[in-house]
Subunit: 228 residues, 2 copies
Amino acid sequence: MDEDTIILQKPLSQLIADQIKARIWNKEIQFGERLLETELAEKYDVSRSTIREAFKIMEIEELVVSQARKGTYVADFTDQDVAEIIELRTLIEASAFMKAIPRLKKKDFQELDKIMEHMKVGADKKDWNELFDLDMKFHSYVVNLCGNSRIIKIYDSLQVQIRTFLMHLDKYYSSHQSFYDEHKELLEALVSTDTETVKERVKNHIEYVEEKLLGVNQENNKLEPEEV
Amino acid sequence: MDEDTIILQKPLSQLIADQIKARIWNKEIQFGERLLETELAEKYDVSRSTIREAFKIMEIEELVVSQARKGTYVADFTDQDVAEIIELRTLIEASAFMKAIPRLKKKDFQELDKIMEHMKVGADKKDWNELFDLDMKFHSYVVNLCGNSRIIKIYDSLQVQIRTFLMHLDKYYSSHQSFYDEHKELLEALVSTDTETVKERVKNHIEYVEEKLLGVNQENNKLEPEEV
DNA sequence: TTAATGATGAATGTCGACAATCGACATAAA
DNA sequence: TTTATGTCGATTGTCGACATTCATCATTAA
């Protein structure tokens, strides 16, 4: 272990789960890779029980999959998985955004504006990592206003999954600037408070992520790939 | 424990989770009740580790909620929770049904017809328990055709939750016969394969469950309550 | 050569015990 | 009486060890 500070209050298993999650994001652990209880227990200097609990936590977040007596594996995001996640996200987010519209107060727009300012900086710095963080913040902020804790929970889980497979791509079919512009348009739709406009823009926005970031449906797409 | 047959192949923790779930359905365990690891370990004659694992399994199904160092509690379905679950179900099911329509084959309709026949028998016997089982089968069958494993998973979890709080009501604002009729109409809509018709009927159907079974929005409802 | 069988090591499932923490009650101070 | 503090039992968190199951590979028979 890097540190042995005595923080606690959170269970060790939760901390371990966070560490493993970070490792996956950093590509130190690959998709589909098997996670061995014994090995990780030794690595983090904790017991196997603790690792097991950490696995369960990550299983709830759908970051790992475990089969009885077959072991625990990091989720493997095939094209099929990505398509499923995006379909579900579209469904959930379009609905949540529409429910959020009438609840948007002045201070909410101020908050969203602030995120957009940071995103502008991130775009100038061409920092995808920061842009993705702000992207998550932006969308989560609106979805959190929908008032349905179960929808919010599912959405959070989807965000983690999306973030995870985005981190594992080695190039994106979009510029940092247009990523910013996309969110700017989405915000303008929200300001209009017109449900149909918002619904359309959310769907377009997610389509954008699918096509321009992931590069799927490239046969219909003439853009030149940009390096990250 | 009732039996000590040596089945296995499934982890003990999974079997324990099933048993506890059954106990909740049978009202032997109340909503919001605290589940003590020690007590259950003794009751089922297993170690606390096993009970802990069972809790995690139920947590994934959202049947229990656990807070670090505060314990694990059976989910408490407040009116707010029920509203959230139904909202989510409407969203998910309407979408899944529409995606399922073009995939419905002859043998699928035969299967659904068979379920309806059983439901007719259940309605004649005025057996809510059986009707609810068949209701779950009917809806799950169609949703399973949608092709998105994540949507199916969420739907399964919702079914379990709905089934759970339905079992805890002591009366329903609907007759067994009209429960059957509702599904008959839903099936006819599917046969028509018209997306808009199906979408409408799914929403009406879930509204029906909400109003006629749960008795919410009774101010707009002149029906006399029927005993179970 | 191929398929079936059996032995061996590795990994998961389960266990009981100890450690850390929480909640409730009793006691004391204001 | 009310609030604060300290003790103690109860409960969860973590641990290391044993039991069971799985996967691999060598061996053997066809």
